[in-house]
């Protein structure tokens, strides 16, 4: 019994080491796919918003919604409170829509998609064939299936396992398709968690989102497989603005994975996404992200500016949500996956690993808004800074007067590798009733020299030793990830820290 479990867990770590050894370069997804693209004209205007809406063949109400957001956004100011600094973004010097020419006529199935595009995903290790694989790692027992929605720049190429999912009543498609095919659901829920007025980047997204994924799990259904979306930015000078909407109806369950990569480019690229999750009575959603956008080079040239608004609304009693994120990529990360614990006895969890190396800057964390009675939340954040990077945990725990007998526990640990980087913790704690208990703990320390020496005296080289110790530091979070992701994440932890020692 023990042995079996040991082998599996051990396999995860082993994978890390092997992957590290197998990699010679640093960022492994930095190549680009050479395909002909259709671009909307550069810049942002009402016409561009209309054009995106038209390209997606949207109904009038969706266009009106976008335009309202656009007119609001024009009057908004970019927020400056995060501990990140970057040259001013020229919002008129970007493309807001880029679609491979071959996608001009919508393929009926993935089989009809341009082989070049399919090859892109194959090279990334994302299976678009309906087989039991994800991220190039063989699933144990060969039983696990993962459905994938592949988003390439501004469009979704297609979604796997649609039929099998439909049998269970699960809707999994691109958001543009959902707007056309399931308008009643989209209309009811879009903007109900992250309103179009929420913040500068969410409002921008509301105006120009081009694609993304839509998930609906009907009452009482445990989604028969894990769902995932894989985002790839390929086109130059183009922002990606995807929007994801997940609705988990009463008593339903789904585990959702998200991955992202982009080519190496000298010019930064903008990514402003919105993810909304609605969870009804007794339902549960697990949302895992491995964010591996191009981080820029050692000198901070290029990379993705990642401004993301993610929020889950536990709208009814006993709803549960768990966010797990591994943030290793992007030049700038600005991201706070949050939980609104509205239903009584609802629960929110946030597990995060954020690694910033070289010139990367990450400002990330969560908000736990306790509104219902006996609501529970847990935050475990592990930040690692190396090189000249700045890494900030920013979070809010709010206990409303009505949220009696609730509970929060927060653990934020920071690890520093080298004396040129920074690690910061900015928690906000607001407690407005006395039957709730809130505990926040944070520590900052450097990577332990004794541990490194111990590993090295047993034969590991310095980078291997650092990878092992850092993976140990992150264990609590890695364990919260689905197995396949855990392996990829461990490997990423090691790769992201390459060159940080010595």
């Amino acid at each position: 019994m023990d042995g079996v479990e040991l082998e599996v867990r051990d396999g995860v770590d082993r994978e890390t080491i092997e992957t590290v050894q197998a990699m010679s370069g640093k960022y492994k997804h930095g190549w680009e796919t050479d395909v002909e693209m259709d671009y909307a004209p550069k810049g942002l205007s009402e016409d561009i918003v209309r054009l995106i809406s038209a390209k997606n063949e949207e109904p009038q109400w969706m266009l009106d919604w976008r335009l309202a957001a656009y007119h609001r956004w024009v009057k908004m100011e970019e927020p400056t409170w995060a501990m990140v600094s970057y040259p001013k973004i020229d919002y008129q010097d970007q493309y807001y829509y880029a679609k491979p020419k071959s996608m001009a006529v919508k393929p009926k199935s993935l089989d009809e998609v341009d082989p070049k595009l399919l090859a892109t995903y194959a090279k990334l290790g994302i299976p678009l064939k309906e087989q039991a694989l994800l991220a190039g790692v063989e699933a144990p027992e060969g039983e696990r299936k993962v459905a994938v929605d592949a988003v390439f720049d501004s469009v979704s190429l297609g979604t796997t396992f649609k039929k099998e999912l439909a049998k269970a009543g699960v809707i999994f498609c691109s958001i543009s398709e959902a707007v056309r095919e399931h308008p009643e659901l989209v209309k009811k829920y879009i903007g109900s968690v992250v309103p179009p007025t929420d913040n500068f980047f969410a409002t921008l997204n509301s105006a120009v989102f081009s694609d993304g994924s839509f998930v609906y799990i009907p009452p009482g259904v445990k989604c028969p497989m894990e769902l995932s979306t894989y985002f790839r930015i390929n086109a130059e000078n183009t922002g990606q603005f995807e929007r994801t909407l997940i609705v988990c109806d009463r008593g339903a369950y789904v585990s959702y994975l998200e991955g992202c990569t982009a080519p190496k480019r000298d010019i930064p690229q903008l990514h402003a996404a919105v993810v909304e999750i609605v969870i009804l009575e007794d339902a549960e959603v697990k949302y895992s992200t491995v964010q591996n956008w191009y981080p820029g080079d050692e000198n901070g040239v290029g990379g993705i500016y990642n401004f993301v608004t993610k929020r889950a609304d536990c709208r009814e009693a006993r709803a549960k949500v768990m966010w797990t994120q591994v943030e290793t990529g992007s030049a700038i990360t600005w991201k706070y996956p949050s939980c609104i614990l509205r239903g009584d006895d609802s629960q929110g969890e946030f597990y995060s690993i954020a690694i910033a190396n070289n010139a990367q800057q990450a400002d990330t964390g969560t908000k736990m808004i306790h509104l219902g009675k006996r609501t529970k939340s847990r935050i475990v954040s592990k930040g690692i800074s190396a090189g000249r990077a700045q890494n900030t945990y920013r979070g809010l725990v709010s206990m409303h007067p009505r949220a009696t007998d609730s509970r929060n526990y927060t653990q934020c640990d920071s690890l520093l590798i080298g004396d040129k980087c920074g690690a910061h913790t900015v928690p906000y704690i607001e407690v407005k009733n006395n039957s709730s208990r809130v505990e926040h703990e944070a520590t900052t320390s450097k990577v332990d020299e004794d541990q490194l020496f111990y590993c090295r005296s047993r034969g590991m080289d310095e980078e291997e030793a650092v990878a092992l110790v850092v993976n140990g530091f992150c264990k609590d979070v890695l364990q919260a990830l689905p197995m396949e992701f855990a392996m990829e994440a461990q490997a990423l932890v090691a790769i992201s820290l390459e060159g940080s020692v010595g």
């Binding site: 206990m399 009696t404 004396d419 928690p427 704690i429 607001e430 407690v431 208990r437």
Partner: protein, 427 residues
């Protein structure tokens, strides 16, 4: 819009004040007036005032505050042998005070310092305050530097014979006090400063403390029990190599208190501890705002803040540990905790770490909750009446903060005052 509002508030607030004086002090005041004009006064929309509305502190005139009768409770630090310097509504009263000369250290009232060139004071007055404006502006402190005419300049060159005790009486319901003290601790010196009393209907104070290499400075403060008083206090300190700075504040009652501590550990091996115990019942808004900067090697800092709140009282803690690049081997600790004795009270906290050096050990913790029912039941099951048990648990909760007071007699004085308060506020 905001900038205009800030300037308007400033004009109204300073209409009746003049930055007077000649010589170095006049120059320092005029400099502060200029700095203040660029800042304006704070509003509740400033991030730095997120949890405390500064309106009543920046208003042109203070809200009237009824006088408080402490009954038979002895004044704070009454039993401590100290040089007593008494202020009434923010004005020094020599008649009620001891002769400053008996302290065996240099003590000069601000009004006498104007004409003479006290060379050390010009390097402290308004200087530490100005340094403390980065990265966060503290206009109320600058206002104080510009317009305060009351306060003492104190210089210690050796171990002082006894503590200096500032006693602030409150006699007028509309008094508005501006107090500014400067303290220079020369290398190897040691001094304890005590402060007690409500001071005025509204008090805005600044204490600037320069602790030179190897010097030791202790500060213990008991803010008065007047329910309607308001106060914005600032202690700016700069701590040299191997020097020690310790500050403890007891706050019982008062409708609005904002205590800011701005500490810079500039030398190697310095030690800075700031602590506070606050107890509030009803209309009580208490804000501890601490900014601890580590620049030297191997420095140690501790922030220990505990609040006991009931009947709608609000406790705020904003604390930061900033470790600058190169400040290796820093040991930084921060704890902020509140005990909410009923469902109406609130605790709002923003405990921050900002760290730019790797070989450091920094941690912070923050908790909020009710009295532990199991502990209460355990004590009751052993025959301790509920009220007594509650008091015991509250005092146990506050103990870590009081433990920061080195002098046992002073710590005992503080403990007795807390016990008294708890007895009066049993519920």
């Amino acid at each position: 819009m905001r900038a205009e509002a800030k300037t308007e508030a400033l004009t109204a607030r300073t209409a009746a004040l003049t930055a007077s004086g000649s010589g170095w002090l006049g120059a320092a005041r005029r400099d502060a007036v200029a700095r203040l004009a660029a800042m304006g006064l704070p509003t509740k929309r400033d991030e730095y005032w997120r949890y405390t509305d500064p309106a009543s502190l920046t208003a042109a005139t203070p809200e009237p505050a009824a006088l408080f009768d402490a009954g038979d409770e002895a004044p704070a630090f009454d039993g401590i042998d100290a040089v007593k310097l008494v202020f009434v509504d923010g004005m020094f009263d020599p008649a009620q005070s001891d002769d400053p000369a008996t302290a065996g250290i240099e003590i000069t009232h601000l009004s006498q310092a104007e004409g003479v060139d006290i060379h050390w004071a010009r390097e402290v007055y308004g200087v530490l305050e100005a340094r403390g404006q980065i990265p966060v502006q503290r206009p109320l402190a600058t206002l104080n530097t510009a317009y305060a005419t009351q306060g003492f300049l104190i210089r210690a060159t050796a171990k002082a014979a006894k503590p200096v005790s500032f006693i602030y009486h409150h006699k007028s319901t509309t008094s508005d006090a501006l107090l500014h003290h400067c303290i220079k601790m020369e290398p190897g010196s040691e001094l304890t400063i005590l402060e007690s009393g409500p001071a005025a209907a509204r008090m805005t104070s600044v204490m600037e403390v320069e602790v030179a290499d190897g010097a030791r400075f202790h500060h213990i403060r008991a803010q008065g029990r007047d329910h309607a008083r308001r106060a914005a206090t600032h202690v700016f300190s700069r701590i040299g190599a191997g020097a020690l700075f310790k500050s403890f504040t007891l706050t019982a009652n008062g409708c609005l208190t904002r205590n800011e501590q701005i500490v810079e550990l500039v030398g190697n091996d310095g030690v800075a501890h700031v602590a506070g115990a606050a107890v509030g019942d009803g209309t009580f808004h208490h804000d501890d705002t601490v900014f601890m900067t580590h620049e030297g090697l191997r420095c140690e800092s501790r922030q220990v803040f505990k609040k006991v709140l009931m009947n709608g009282a609000v406790g705020v803690f904003q604390g930061k540990i900033l470790v600058k690049p190169g400040a290796q081997k820093t040991d930084g600790y921060q704890i902020s905790q509140s005990l909410l004795l009923d469902g109406d009270s609130q605790f709002l906290a923003k405990p921050e770490l900002e760290i730019y050096a790797d070989d450091v050990k920094c941690s912070h913790g923050s908790t909020s909750g009710a009295i532990d029912d199991t502990a209460l039941f355990y004590l009751q099951s052993r025959g301790v009446p509920k009220r007594v048990a509650q008091s015991l648990l509250v005092l146990a909760f506050l103990a870590e903060a009081i433990g920061e007071i080195e002098d046992e007699a002073i710590a005992e004085d503080i403990r007795l005052r807390l016990e008294g308060w708890l007895q009066r506020h049993e519920h």
